[in-house]
Symmetry: C2
DNA sequence: TTCCTTGCAAAGGCTTTGCACACCG
DNA sequence: CGGTGTGCAAAGCCTTTGCAAGGAA
C-alpha cells in the first residue's frame, strides 16, 4: 500500500498524471506476491471497475518499466511479466512442464557474474534471470 | 555435412519422409556456426531454390525440435532460434544493447545446477541458457 | 484551459492452421 | 498408389498504434 504511493509519487514527480487506471494497475502489481502479465493485471482490474482496457494496461506497465519503476521479465514463450521493485532480485525457476515459477536466492549467481565479467567482459544482468527446467512435482509424476 | 545425414537418417527411421525442403533446412542449421531463427533459415533456403515457404520452415524446425533432433532456444523478445545438437551445450550471453550473442562455457553453471537441485529440488535445464546483459563494446560506448 | 491519457478499433509482427495438390516411399 | 508433406492464404495470438473524446492539473 505504502509502496503504491511511492510509485505514484515518483510518477507525479516525473511529470506524469495520476489517473484511476494507473492507480489500479500499480496497486495490482504492488499487492501481488508473484509477477503478473499484462493479461493478469487486466483481469485483476476488472474486479474493481468496468472502465478499463488492455491497451492501457500495456501502456502503463511499459511506462513504469521505462521509467525504472517496475521490473519487466521475459519468462520465455512470449510470457512477459511485471513486478514492483520492492520485489527484490531473485532467480526464476520456470517449470517447463506445469509452468510454475519458483523463486530462488540470487546469491547463487554471484560467482557466475564475476566469471562472466572477467572471462567475457560481459556485464550480466542477473537481477531477474529465468532458468528453465522441471520442478520436483512434475518429475515425480513423470511428466517432465 | 555428415551431420546432415545423421539427422536425415534419424528422421527416416522415425518414419518421416525426406523431402528436398527438409534436406535444405537441415543443411542450413547444420552448416551454420550460430543459431538461426526461422526467418534466417528461410532466407538461406531462398538462395538455393524458389520452391520454399516460411510455413514449411516453421513446421520442419518444430518437427526437428519435437523429435529431439535440434535445439530450440528462446532468446527473449520473441527471438526463437534453432541449432543442431552437434552444437554443444553452452551459455548464451545476449547483449541487450546490440543484440549480439556471445557463447560462454557451460561449466560455469555446474555449481549452480547442483545448488538448485539440492535447495529447490529443481532439475534445471542449463544446456542452452540465455543470460542478458551488456557486452564490452556497448559498455565502452556508453550505450548500455 | 491545456494537453496528457484513455478507449476503441484497427494494424502489426510472428507463428500456426485448413485445405487441396504434390510427391515420397 | 496411399498417405505424408507442401504451398498458399487466412486465421490467431499478443502487443502496439492512430485518433477522437475524456479528464488531470
Amino acid at each position: 500500500m505504502t509502496h503504491c504511493h511511492t510509485i505514484l509519487g515518483q510518477l507525479r514527480e516525473k511529470g506524469y498524471r495520476i489517473t484511476p487506471q494507473r492507480e489500479l494497475i500499480i496497486q495490482a502489481i504492488a499487492h501481488s506476491e508473484a509477477h503478473m502479465s499484462a493479461e493478469e493485471v487486466f483481469t485483476e482490474l476488472q474486479k474493481h471497475t468496468q472502465a478499463t482496457n488492455l491497451a492501457t494496461v500495456y501502456r502503463t506497465l511499459d511506462l513504469l518499466w521505462e521509467e525504472g519503476l517496475a521490473r519487466r521479465n521475459n519468462l520465455g514463450e512470449g510470457r512477459i511479466v511485471y513486478a514492483t521493485l520492492k520485489h527484490g532480485p531473485h532467480i526464476h525457476l520456470v517449470c517447463r512442464c506445469c509452468n510454475a515459477v519458483i523463486e530462488a536466492d540470487p546469491h547463487l549467481l554471484v560467482g557466475l557474474k564475476s566469471e562472466l565479467a572477467t572471462r567475457h567482459s560481459f556485464s550480466a544482468d542477473l537481477q531477474h534471470i529465468s532458468i528453465f527446467g522441471v520442478c520436483q512435482q512434475c518429475r515425480s509424476q513423470n511428466k517432465g
